[in-house]
Structure formats: structure tokens, C-alpha cells
Amino acid sequence: MTDVLLFITYFLVATPIGLARRLINDPLSRRRNRRATTYWTVSDRRG
């Protein structure tokens, strides 16, 4: 029984987080790029 529960939890919890990680790719740029000389990004469109 415990094994099944663990399996389900793993499936239901880890997978979404994993998916989320793949979706994210640090779009909030929380990690600082220590080699950067600027934090400006080029505007893709109007604002």
C-alpha cells in the first residue's frame, strides 16, 4: 500500500514540478549572470 501511495505522490507531485521547470527556464532571471556587462535586454516589440 505504502509503495503505491509513494508512487502516486511522486507521479502527481514530481511531474508537475518537472514540467514547470522545463516551462520556466528561469524566465524571471533570478540567477544573476556574473559575466554580464549589462542587464538591459533588447525590446522585442513595442514595450
Binding site: L28, S29, R32, Y39, R45, R46
Partner: protein, 612 residues
């Protein structure tokens, strides 16, 4: 056939409506002035109705509606934030998502705008265009400015993704150059300190700015080391470990408390030296970033003029530093630099695309009509109001009225001044103002306690005849919208011997011949007044100068603390009667407090108006 575009901002802070005719702003107002709810974020139905009525048109006459930000793009950022914060952000997730996804929620903002406009039953609703948040700011900063071309810098909390944007404005076009994205935001940095010092986010930032001159920037290095990494070009990266706004509904958490010597100051709690110093520190860092951003703007565009908008452009101390630096010959700041101005900007952006021209360029004037874009009341309406409410008053000839008010002011009286069209933007500019003698050493504390019923550390601001401004202030250019701070001129300063005064007691020391408007560091947030921008106000200042030799008056907004600036005649009379204002000048009518019947209200209005 005039081309009318209606701009709308709504659902976050400072809902507003603005009407642009052939590229020229002709009517604009914030909803809060009508609903009497400060920073009202609901759909600006009354403001829209006002704009249409001002021009005598219906929605069928309007060619396009422009909404000031992109809800779908914003939602993607909100979602990315919530997912990125998992699993710790689950409460925020649960609280935030429904407000977006429900029927009529924030994701469907454009649908809601359409529905609300239809509900006004003022004609057929035209197509609704969407303009991005920072584009709306940039348009509000550049298109009404007097310049044929300019660098444009918009700095705020956050729009959809962008928090800081740089543009090149030329003719009727705006070219985006670069941006900094959420969560890295100068506005949110300032808001974090606002929150930590016990003030309300989005409305308390200017209080923090007013507190800064009392402190020493002893935390500035810590801020630069741990909170925000600033590049020489002004771009920056924030260390999100210290901020809570990605995870939760507050700005700062325990890491911030550990860094800054203890828990946040509770709202309305005692102000200590730590808060003064935190304010001074974040202000110093903000100014440094703004100056570097300005320099980058100049280098990237090669322009000699700068246009500013976005909430951080309301930091008039930083604006003053930019002006003083000489990086640009001249700086123009949109009076409605916050989100209310987004309504105007979105409308202007659409108007320019539809072929409007900027005819005012080359005249040296801007296209904001002195920011007097709201409702006015003529003498017939005022007379009717006074008569039907049996309010004692005197009707005077225009010249006589100005003289009587000038005499009263010179006599130390406090006068409510209600003239012309209401201002658009957060500042009162001599249309809905409370005025006093700037030379009076007790005026500052009198106005604070008897009119505004507010904390006494906050200074008042001067209005001065534009032609005489340089005699009183070290100002390199005009400041028509009270968005630039300058030092009081040396000739007016009085040397002060500071003994043991600290904190708020510093305010009582007289530092100049215009003490009511001089801050503890000798600075003032100046409004320069020309006859063209506001004729009645200019006449009053001229009459006051003729009488006293001084062309400077205290100008504070006509409202009690916590309520929006007065809009209607009733709002004005109510504020007049609730406070210790001595006289009220409305149109050609003068009301004397001593002649008024006793004022009573059913409930305690002071308990009803939420503290700001």
C-alpha cells in the same frame, strides 16, 4: 471630422479615462475624483461619461478605444511568477488565479471594458485597441511634450513584463530600444522600502521620499551590495531572496528584517531614526540608478531632451537631480506619470498611428493644457449651488476677487482655491488647491494639523511666478507640474544652527524666508506658473506679489488626508467646512468661514475616510 480616441486605464490602480481629439488631449480625469475612493481601480464609468459630456459627443463619435495594457501578456507573467515560486507560492496561487480566470476577471479586461462601455448607453462602442503598459507610458511622456524628438525613459513597478524601458521619440513615432524586465524593478524596490517603513504600497512612496531628508544614507552600501546590483549603464539586477513579492502578497520578509536591523515598522507606528535612514538610503540608490539611466538614454539616442513617465517619474527629487546634472538641456515629465496617464498615452499612441500630427511642436508649449483637463463649473452653476444650499457668500468682480484673496493670504489666512478645469494627475496645480503664505513660519504646521490632519514631517510645496522662479529656487528649467525638486536659492536661505534637534523637530527650524515650503535639506518641490497655463492662478500670484513683494505661495491639494482631491462644488464646500480653511474662492464667489452656519455630519467622517 475630428478623430476622437478614448483611452482607458482600469483594474489596478488609478483608473482613468482620457479623450484625445486629432492627437490633442482634450479631456481626462481619474475615476477616484468622482467616486471619492482614493486610487479607485474600478472601471472608470464616471470619468468616461465626463469626457464624452465635456465634448458633447457619444461613443458613436469615437473612432477607437484604447486600453492601456495587454491583459494576456500580463497574465503570462503572473503565471510564470506563480509557477516559478512553486511550491512555496501555493497560497498566492490560490488567491491570485481566480481573480484572473473567473468570468469578468482580469484576463478578460478588454471584454469587461466593452461590456461597461455598452452599459453606459452612450452610443455604439467602437473597436477596442490594446497598447502595452510601457508603450502607453512612453506615449504619454513623448507625444504631448514640446519636443520634435527626444529620449524617453519609463520607470515603474511593472507593466506586463517590462519595468524600465528606453525609447527614441521622433515626430509621431516611438522606437523601443531596450528594457529591463520583472522582477527587476526600481519601482518595486522603492515600494519594498515603503512597505518596510510602514507605509502603504502604491500610495506611500512619496511619503518615503519626504522622509529621506531627515536621515542619513547609512544603508545605501548594504542596498547596493545585497539587494540590487547596478551596472554603469544604469541597468540592474535584484537579489530576489530578499523580496517576497514573487511568493506572496507582501513585499519583504525575514531576510529583509535581518538585513535592516529588525522587523518592519507597523503602519501608524512610531517613526524612528532607522526609517529616516532607510528612506535616505533607498532614495540615494534610486537617484543613482535614475542618473545612470538618464546618461544611457542620452548616449543611446544622442538627444538633448528627455521625457519621463512611469510611477518612478513621480520621484521629483530624483527628477531634480537629473535636471541639475545637465545630461539633458531640458526634461519634460508627464504630469500623470502613473497609471492614470496610461489612459492618455494609449489614446495618443492610437491617435498617432491613425495619422494625427503634433501641431504644437515648435511653439515651445506642450499639449497638456497645463494639465487642466477635468470638469469646470461656471458661475451660473456655482450660483445655483450656493443658493439652493443657502450658503452665505459674496459675488465679486474678477479683479476684486483676486485682490481680496491676495489680501487674505497676506494676512495669514488659508484659502481654498477652486477655479477652472480640474487637474489630471496627482498634483493640485492651482485649480483645486489650498493656498497659504509661504513666508509664514507657522503655516507648515498649521496646514498639516488643521487642514490635512496628517503627520507633521511632510513638507508643503511652493507655486511661484515662472518669471521670478530663479530668484527663489536653483531651478535650471520650468517645472509646470510640480515634478521637479530644487534647492531654495542661497539669497533666501537663513543659516541655521542645529543643536540637539533630531528627526521631526528639525522641521521647526526656519531655514529660509519661505519656511512653509522649505524642507529640512533646503529643497522645495516647485511649480512654476505662467499666464498661459493657468491665467487665474497667475493673476493671484501677481496680486500677492504686488501686495507683499513675494511671488511664492504654498500650494497643497484641496482635500483632507486620505480623500481624493475635490471634484464637485459639494466636495469643495464639505472639505472647506470640515477643516480650518478660512476662505473659499469658487469662480467669482468668495465664502468666509466666519459667516458659515455650523457644520454637522451624521457620522464621523474622520473614521470613514481610510488612512492613506
Amino acid at each position: 471630422m475630428p478623430d476622437l480616441v478614448l483611452g482607458i486605464s482600469a483594474f489596478y490602480h488609478d483608473s482613468a479615462a482620457a479623450l484625445v481629439r486629432d492627437g490633442v488631449p482634450v479631456a481626462a480625469a481619474q475615476e477616484e475624483r468622482f467616486s471619492r475612493m482614493r486610487h479607485d481601480s474600478s472601471f472608470p464609468a464616471q470619468a468616461v461619461r465626463y469626457c464624452l459630456e465635456e465634448l458633447g459627443v457619444s461613443l458613436s463619435d469615437v473612432t477607437a478605444v484604447a486600453y492601456y495594457e495587454d491583459p494576456r501578456l500580463k497574465f503570462r507573467r503572473v503565471l510564470a511568477t506563480l509557477i516559478g515560486a512553486a511550491p512555496t507560492g501555493v497560497t498566492s496561487f490560490r488567491e491570485t488565479l481566480p481573480s484572473w480566470l473567473r468570468d469578468g476577471g482580469k484576463l478578460r479586461a478588454v471584454e469587461v471594458v466593452r461590456r461597461e462601455l455598452e452599459a453606459l448607453a452612450r452610443g455604439a462602442v467602437p473597436e477596442i485597441a490594446v497598447r502595452r503598459h510601457h508603450e502607453s507610458h512612453a506615449a504619454s511622456a513623448f507625444f504631448p511634450s514640446p519636443y520634435p524628438s527626444a529620449a524617453v525613459l519609463c520607470v515603474d513597478g511593472v507593466g506586463e513584463w517590462a519595468t524600465t524601458t528606453l525609447w527614441h521619440g521622433r515626430g509621431t513615432a516611438l522606437t523601443p530600444l531596450s528594457e529591463i524586465r520583472f522582477p527587476h524593478s526600481l519601482g518595486l524596490l522603492y515600494s519594498a522600502f515603503t512597505y518596510f517603513c510602514g507605509f502603504k504600497v502604491d500610495s506611500g512612496e512619496y511619503k518615503l521620499m519626504g522622509l529621506a531628508p531627515y536621515g542619513k544614507p547609512r544603508y545605501a552600501d548594504l542596498i547596493r551590495e545585497r539587494l540590487i546590483d547596478v551596472m554603469p549603464d544604469g541597468s540592474f539586477h535584484m537579489n530576489m531572496r530578499y523580496f517576497e513579492y514573487l511568493r506572496g502578497q507582501v513585499m519583504t520578509g525575514r531576510a529583509f528584517e535581518r538585513l535592516f536591523d529588525g522587523p518592519r515598522r507597523p503602519p501608524e507606528g512610531l517613526l524612528t531614526e532607522r526609517e529616516f535612514d532607510l528612506a535616505a538610503s533607498v532614495q540615494e540608490v534610486t537617484e543613482e540608478v535614475m542618473l545612470r539611466l538618464a546618461r544611457t538614454a542620452q548616449e543611446r539616442t544622442g538627444e538633448s531632451k528627455l521625457c519621463l513617465a512611469g510611477g518612478v517619474a513621480l520621484n521629483c527629487v530624483a527628477n531634480g537631480k537629473i535636471v541639475d546634472s545637465g545630461i539633458f538641456d531640458e526634461v519634460w515629465i508627464q504630469p500623470a506619470a502613473g497609471d492614470a496617464g496610461g489612459a492618455l498615452g494609449a489614446a495618443l499612441a492610437v491617435a498617432m498611428e491613425r495619422g494625427a500630427t503634433r501641431d504644437h511642436v515648435g511653439s515651445g508649449r506642450d499639449a497638456m493644457s497645463g494639465a487642466l483637463l477635468g470638469p469646470a463649473f461656471d458661475d451660473t452653476q456655482i450660483a445655483a449651488f450656493l443658493r439652493s444650499n443657502e450658503i452665505p457668500h459674496r459675488r465679486l468682480e474678477p479683479g476684486r476677487m483676486v485682490d481680496d484673496v491676495a489680501a487674505a493670504l497676506a494676512d495669514g489666512k488659508i484659502v481654498g482655491w477652486f477655479q477652472d478645469r480640474m487637474e489630471f494627475g496627482p498634483r493640485a496645480l492651482g485649480a483645486r488647491s489650498i493656498l497659504g503664505d509661504a513666508r509664514d513660519p507657522v503655516m507648515q504646521s498649521a496646514m498639516n494639523l488643521k487642514i490635512k490632519f496628517r503627520e507633521s514631517f511632510r513638507p508643503f510645496a511652493p507655486a511661484v511666478l515662472a518669471a521670478d522662479a530663479k530668484d527663489y529656487f536653483d531651478l535650471r528649467q520650468e517645472s509646470p507640474y510640480m515634478l521637479v525638486v530644487a534647492q531654495v536659492a542661497a539669497a533666501r536661505r537663513i543659516p541655521v544652527i542645529e543643536t540637539e534637534e533630531t528627526g521631526i523637530d528639525l522641521l521647526r527650524l526656519q531655514r529660509s524666508t519661505i519656511p512653509a515650503v522649505t524642507h529640512v535639506d533646503g529643497s522645495a518641490r516647485v511649480q512654476t506658473v505662467t499666464a498661459e497655463s493657468n491665467p487665474a492662478y497667475h493673476e493671484l500670484l501677481t496680486a500677492f506679489k504686488a501686495r507683499t513683494g513675494c511671488p511664492v505661495l504654498v500650494n497643497t491639494s484641496f482635500n483632507v488626508r486620505g480623500e481624493p482631491i475635490v471634484n464637485s462644488l459639494r466636495d469643495a464646500y464639505t472639505c472647506f467646512m470640515r477643516t480650518n480653511i478660512d476662505m473659499l474662492a469658487m469662480g467669482s464667489f468668495l465664502l468666509d468661514k466666519s459667516e458659515q452656519p455650523a457644520w454637522s455630519e451624521e457620522s464621523d467622517w474622520r473614521a470613514e475616510i481610510p488612512l492613506d
